[in-house]
Amino acid sequence: MALLEMKGITKYIFDSYGVAIRNTTVKILDKVDFSLEKGEVHILVGENGAGKSTLMKVLGGLIPPDEGEILLDGKPVRPRSARDALDLGIGFIHQELNLCGNLSVRDNIFMGRELTHKGMKDGKEMRRRSEELLKEMGVNIDPDTLVKNLSTAQQQIIEIAKVFSYDCRIIIMDEPTSSLTKTEIDILFRLIHRLKAQGVSIIYISHRLEEFERVGDRLSVLRDGQYIGTLEKEAFHVDRIVSMMVGRALGAMYENTHVPGGERVLEVRALRLEPHTAPISLHVNRGEIVGIGGLVGAGRTELAKSIFGYRKSFGGQVLYNGNPLKKLDPALLIRAGIIYLTEDRKTEGLILDMGIRQNISLASLFRLFPRLFMFGHKEEELARDMVGRLNVVCNALEQTARTLSGGNQQKVVLGKCLATQPKLLILDEPTRGIDVGAKAEIYHMIDTIARSGVAVLMISSDMPELIGMSDRIYVMREGAIVVEITEKAEMQQETILEHTIGRTGGVA
């Protein structure tokens, strides 16, 4: 009998009030099954948004499932908080570290359950036990060191020690190596083998193919919130894994009525995102949709923000209509006809407390009202026009953006961008987290914009979208462009995915 079994876990998407929308075709998790044996390392893979993290959050007690059950040792359990899960022996190590830098290792390990002696904190005992624990894990860290003085890998280890000290039988690791160097990864893997030997089961979420073979015993694939299948170690083949990860048919959602022109609207020459990353060069023509693929963290958003002057970049040159831009600054670029639709609509795209009208006109105030005073009906006409063109479902133009659904919020942000009458549109995940209907409408809009001659640069983690919309695709990895795909025939999900995770990694 498996140590852990998750059966038919289903999770619906939420509306803006946090209530699950049940009458929708989109589910974050759709009847997902998952099992874990004692002492195994089970790899969980899938594209961005496939539901890996959501599934683990359900197991870790962070979000309740809408349907399905969790069996631990054959008995049904339902963790309702992270603490609940810990009491059941399920520890969660998040992608971002959750440690207090200004406290010592010892205090971090015992946080929230400090040992006491006659009502006072018993530092000595906590020190002794921490030392024992760390020794047991085979690492040499002084429990009195402040956490901020440790390296990222050492902090990762403290995080593991903290979870381990709860006598966890199951440890969930969500992309633990994403911020580690090669030697630090080696330390982590040694620790994983050690934990395994002690009978601890580990669920390991990762994107890196080369890690699968090194630590994995079994591997399960999720795609679009559905469980696809599980492979034994002998069956770990890149082609197999990749085809399981992508294998869906492209629908007829994508329209391609636009025709790319010849003139280069945007040209980036040798721009570096960080001093140590490789230089980036790319170009976008009039009426062309150029996609940028890659994993989250590959530097795609950083590239867009660098071009738009919202982030520092190093060296290089950005040319707009053939002329080098002297100063990259959002205000100047918008006035020149460049607009950037941000990845996160809530924190960087909308003013949530303002109405639809105010949001749509926000980036165009300089154009609508060049003389400072806002008299007349120009703003309302613009908003009404955009709401109509984008089919925003709302009660009134004054409705606050906060109360709109995700898809309608995204349409408002797109409306704000289009209102500036751009010649170059940079889109960052234009359809993230919105339903299929709104997606199709946005695709139609993007195609229409391109047809009118606007150059479009589109960052997307959604493979079908990237392939379906783009005339050319650049793939990014580790802050640089690794390949440019110019032929439609070469735009295969498998090809792109191999470039995004780096086939050269060792698995073949």
Binding site: F308, Y310, P330, A331, L333, I334, R335, Y340, T342, T347, E348, G349, L350, I351, L352, D353, M354, Q358, L362, A363, L365, F366, F369, L372, F373, M374, F375, V387, G388, V392, V393, C394, N395, A396, K416, T420
Partner: protein, 341 residues
């Protein structure tokens, strides 16, 4: 797009958006009923005259609060400007038409300093202006040598105390001459008109210009504002400059009104009073939300309270704890208003 009735009725929306007007109306009614000598023409005009100068300062502070910042140096800026005005006119004999613009320039400089510290050095406005406030107070003490300047020159006093409409009184038809209301109205000094003019200008600036809209957007969400092409750094610093210039104007008017220029004309009590007026006037301390009309009523509320305490003649120190309670009440009500259901 379909029109659908929202849950909020017109009445609850009015209550939420114009709470200070209700607050003032209730206070005014209660004071009229229960406080002797409150509801007299002379007393009501006294409240209006007392509210004029704080209104000018409050208009400035409201703009800063809209960015999500605060200006705790307000009272000290006022003291410094007062002392400098007194020195220029009394000690060095500057004419009013030179001294007043120079004082306004000092205010603008203080705003430039505060705004730059907040915008470019990324110091929270709270700390930045608390620090700069003490520096300004110190400078005012050094310049003024702790003295106060009394009996200011006539040309300076005329700027604020002239009665622009008094000439009209003679032109009144027979019978209206004895009307106390008209008499008081026509005798209103110039500083009341200046304050009213400032309120009108700031009303347009805040509610009818791209500056006001950008300011509100910046206060709600600075990242979105900047990514939407708003020149946020310039907007932010400019707001402090406008605000402190208005505080300098308030300093000029107050100095004239009390005919005394000294460094502790303002001080932290004054700052607190203006902050209270703005918060009672529905201005959010988290930025984004503010209204000129509501702020006018916020100032009227604080001044009416002060007036009532004076009339009751119980204990003059009752005013401060009362103001404390009012600001607490206003903040609790604001939190209640913004509660997400």
């Amino acid at each position: 797009m379909q029109k659908k009735d929202t849950l909020e009725t017109g009445w609850t929306r009015f209550l939420k958006e114009h709470g200070s007007i209700i607050f003032f109306a209730v206070l005014f009614l209660a004071a009229s009923l229960f406080v002797n000598n409150f509801f007299t023409v002379r007393n009501v005009f006294t409240v209006i005259k007392q509210a004029a100068v704080p209104l000018v300062a409050c208009m400035g502070l409201m703009l800063i609060l809209t960015t999500g910042g605060i200006d705790l140096s307000l009272g000290y800026t006022l003291g410094l400007c007062s002392v400098l005005l007194g020195m220029m006119t009394k000690r060095y004999g500057f004419p009013a038409w030179t001294a007043i613009p120079l004082t306004l320039c000092v205010g603008a400089a203080v705003g430039l300093l505060n705004g730059s510290i907040v915008q470019f050095l990324k110091v929270p406005a709270f700390i930045a202006t608390l620090g700069s406030g003490y520096v300004l107070f110190g400078i005012a003490q050094i310049f003024g040598k702790g003295d106060a300047f009394y009996q200011l020159p006539g040309d300076l006093l005329a700027f604020g105390t002239a009665r622009p409409l008094s000439g009209l009184m003679d032109k009144l038809p027979e019978g209206a001459g004895g009307n106390l209301f008209l008499d008081q109205f026509f005798k209103l000094p110039a500083y009341v008109y200046i304050a009213a003019l400032v309120a009108v200008i700031i009303f347009f600036l805040r509610h009818k210009t791209t500056y006001g809209r950008s300011l509100s957007a910046f206060g709600f969400n600075a990242a979105t504002a900047r990514l939407s092409g708003i020149r946020t750094a310039r907007l932010h610093v400019l707001t402090y400059v406008i605000s402190s210039t208005l505080v300098a104007l308030a300093a000029v008017l107050l100095t004239i009104r009390v005919d005394c220029a000294q460094s502790n004309l303002g001080g932290s009590n004054y700052t607190f009073e203006i902050v209270t007026a703005a918060v009672v006037g529905g201005t959010s301390l988290f930025g984004g939300v503010s209204s000129v009309v509501n702020c006018i009523f916020g100032v009227l509320v604080t001044k009416t309270l002060e007036n009532v305490v004076n009339l009751l003649a119980i204990n003059i120190y009752l005013f401060q704890p009362l103001m404390g309670l009012v600001i607490l009440l206003a903040i609790v009500l604001e939190a209640f208003k913004n509660r997400k259901l």
